[in-house]
Symmetry: D3
């Protein structure tokens, strides 16, 4: 039995509130248990210098935590004057993951900026950010599509992420909260598409290791959780956008 | 008539939701119209180096905006590697204002960290931050008082802030939203205590000036709004804390 | 009686030495008691990127202190690698104040850089900087006008600044030196134009507050000092430039 | 057939030259094809502040490239004034990996600094760094053990890393060079211990994805290469140190 | 004949005004032609961490220019957030030079901070800084000696600096102004003690070279100028301090 | 007799290995005793902004040390976020020295980037860098010349550098190693061209001074060492490039 009474393969309660803030082209507040992240998607009508003239778009992400999202107040990165290695890893991961399900050629020379700001943290902030950011991004790109600024809907697949881990009893559990994460022997983040392909798989044994069999078990548990997360995303996006994503995916597979 | 239909001396709708995030000792989400700020108060059991050994406490504030709190995405200060002059001015103002109603000797060698994070901006973010931060701080200090970590309740007075300005028709209006603020000829922020004394008064005529008579009018309009804000604060804090603040204040006046 | 024997409403001795350094288009050494500031005005033939193509000019200011302008040596901001919040507040204030009396359209796409470098500090460095910078700027713009690079003299009014404060005896005094400033309960900086309008009014009660009546008294004392400062500026600038400023002002009022 | 004529499961030529530079406690020059990295291990007799008094040690790594290690000159991070996200990710990975095979309690309050400086880059610099750094670290810790500064040899297992990937023909290949890496659809880095357990497994599909079956194939190919790398390490370290590592490992398993 | 009508071996007019600013323990305004530098010496009662416990003192220097000391406004190093290579070279040179004539053991664990701030620049700012800083330092150390905080006067010799160069006519000239310096083929700065020994000799041929014979000629011309500079320093310091320096020097030579 | 048994006027063993790394246009590994530096030359087809449109080239240098090039590990400048004053001095020196023997007009609007990375340090790293960088630069420019991208070979002379110093026995020695350098009373770096002209001469007496006679002796000893270094350079470059340099020089003298 887990600290919060969940089964090994049970997600925490998930809520995705769309249009949480009014200014961005797309925004959500995603809660996964006590982890809460505001995800905002901004469409900018140009790409970074290194991509100009290629006729394709770019997706980039930034991630931050409010100082008191955590038990101990953490110092603002703006006060420190630099972004930590952990933050950089996470924002590179989010951007890379989202780019894997968007046809960049289809959005033209535009940048989609994703901002994930954690307002309350209880483990799994990076995976919640990816799951929420996907929804915010789809809403923002759908506005572009509705205005006919782009011809085809560029999101080719659903995309969500979760964490799995091995606790001291050597068994795999789904969606670790902060207390579990702190004591896990192995920690793995998995990003998957709606048709079950991996986008990222990052397993780490800090001062520990894991076997081939444990790897298989971790993946199996993650897959169950991810199927559930896709359902939350579909509900949040509504039938119209969900159908467009599915259609886009089909189209892609036929190519 | 104003752009949003308000009277000249009318505040926007104000909501103060206490304990909005679970980790900080005190927290609120304050909304003033479409301006929304998460204010968190953290009690740290030490003071900055320059104050050690004096037996008194310190209150300091930090202020930031999410990138898409605004119409145009603004670049994170952590990415720029430095905090802007505007941000520094605001956080210095918030800290100074709060210190004016707290008996620093009474909190011992502790620092109260105030974090004001604007999640949606529509003008008046610095004054909403002060009004909300006061409530978060009172809640946090009350916890310290309840645990008997401090002997007397150190908050001697209510404290709120609002903005007033002169629009192109040369008349004073209360609580400017972003559209009004952008076009105002004169902009003034006033921080006041519950017994009507000024703590800060900052009037600025960017590429414009204001007369002695206009100054009097601005102050009068601000005072009306501030009385209303004190009521919202009392309601958010509840009778027990409100009575402690009032008591503390009386005590101080008798000295 | 004050620590240096002055009356409550008496300025310290003021000297404005024009053309103090030879390279800038305009420069002064202003002394207000023992506070000494070198103010230099530079005309640059372009504006910041955000203003290009609008056909109007910009005025911006920088402020710094030599390390031993003060009793304790202060660390250079270049060594610290960043500009302090206090410095940023002051340089924003100086720039904003000067812009209020210059018709930016009349100077074309040019930037006036104001550099205020405090070589000796004894209180009131920001207000001395504004008073001195106005003179340096007027000299620099007059050169532009004489060379017929601009058609109308763009300075529409005199502009000076002073500080007032409330000492422990609860009464208002003019032009605080460092010893007075350190002990003042309330500190107010007032920037005013030659025709008596306010440009900036910044009153602060650090760990203290002030009443409506005290505010009126502070303003009255400041106004007396400012009238005197305008006389020093006129003398430093000479009749020709003083007449141009007066003329420009009249013109503006008639509009 | 691959661009350089290798088989799918064939490593590039590997050379590990020990004691390459004279000052560090342990150093190697590792070459994996045209990728060359100087790895140096430094023993410092203290730990970072957050670990003081716990009686255990720490291992931390830094990674850099010479500007012309690459085809295009890359700007020094010291000139840019900040370390890139990519560099941070790599140095965090190297440190984490090495810590997984060292009993930190056994080295006392000491820090092992690992410096990996790439002098020539042709793909796989992070995995070559880990493989080389392991050898440099083992040499440095062996000196400590020989001087009897520590009682037990703290390295519990061999540790090496390699990359695998999926090229456009959808098949898995081992040890990608730069040309292959640039065109790979999927890129995976695997860090493994001498007894076949995973320490890190990081698979990424940039603008692409991979299936469960492909994952299995990638792992299989990597395992073959890693077994070979352990042989190179044993040869470089010599029988005495290799036996100590094996012994240490046995001891650990028995616990 | 030179651009300003001087002879080849003629210094520009030199003025050293002592106690130019009131706060520092020692200060001068030195003018060498149109080059003007404020030099301030601060005595701090501790040494940098790397010297603690050795019972000896340290001398360190900082150098800066006001933005409009030069014909073109130069950007403040505090705004750029870093100190340029040129500034670092100069401040290292000033500190090193002054340390060569002070018995660091004799000043105890104290740091002498030297601040050289150029308020007007016309060539030779680093050599004027050294010549002026020597005087400011001697005054500051004399105060310490008079208060009997130190037993022996620690300055063992006079110290001054000048520049020499080779212009396009291939001949050596003394004390180059900015116009000459910009066109010189060879530029040499020489720091010398009162008894004719070299402390620093830095000759540079930017895009040019110089022969052994030219070197001899440059040194000869510099020596003439330096003898004159020692006279200006003696006059500025007065007989009492000059005698102490001479005495200290004699004492040292006898050792 | 010296610590390593050398004569006073004897260089340490010198080796120059050309094309040490494969990517740069020119590269060498230079060893001077235990001091080892990788020098790389990169040709970039543009010049810095301040030189655009002038039709001439530029040469600039960067210098760094691996953290364990030294006995004590030194912190990376990228981690500190800034380049030290010592590093800046050295890289400015290297660039300036190389520019003195290259006809910048002849290379067109190109920049030659020189990277000197010390992998092992035992004194004289800056002079070894110059001697090695000259060879790397000549190789890179020769490639340009062979491809007929430039018409004339732009290197007009050989260029090498060495250090000389005065040890505690007051006599001059050549090519100081780290142990000697740490105890030297006077330290001088001399950069000279193949026809015996000085390019840089930097003599420093840290807490010490030197006489005119000692200066002559230092120069004499340096000249002997430099003649030998030119031979090592010729051998490394081969007859063809050496002849081009000699020819270029003759041509220049005839002008």
């Amino acid at each position: 039995m887990r600290v919060d009474g969940r089964e090994r393969n049970q997600l925490r309660p998930v809520h995705i509130e769309t249009n949480y803030i009014k200014q961005p082209e797309g925004s959500v507040l995603i809660s996964v248990g006590d982890t809460k992240v505001i995800c905002a998607a901004t469409i900018e009508d140009r790409v970074p210098p290194f991509m100009r003239g290629e006729g394709k778009g770019w997706i980039t992400a930034e991630y931050a935590m409010l100082p008191r999202a955590t038990e101990q107040r953490n110092i603002r990165e703006s006060s420190k004057g630099k972004v930590s290695g952990r933050t950089m890893e996470i924002q590179r991961l989010i951007g890379r993951a989202l780019r894997s399900v968007v046809t960049l050629d289809a959005i033209g020379e535009r940048t989609v900026w994703i901002d994930c700001d954690v307002i309350q943290a209880d483990g799994g902030t990076r995976t919640a950010s990816i799951t929420g950011a996907f929804v915010a991004m789809a809403i923002a790109l759908h506005k572009l599509y509705e205005k006919k600024s782009i011809k085809t809907f560029p999101v080719s697949n659903f995309l969500a992420a979760t964490s799995v881990g091995i606790l001291s009893d050597k068994q795999a559990v789904l969606d670790l909260n902060y207390a579990e994460d702190s004591n896990a022997e192995v920690d793995m983040n998995i990003v998957m598409t709606g048709n079950g392909e991996f986008v990222e798989l990052q397993g780490t044994g800090e001062e520990s290791t894991f076997s081939y069999d444990q790897l298989q078990e971790l993946i199996k548990v993650a897959q169950e959780g991810l199927l559930e997360l896709f359902e939350y995303q579909k509900e949040a996006l509504g039938d119209e956008i969900a159908a467009l994503i599915k259609g886009s995916s089909v189209e892609k597979e036929e190519k």
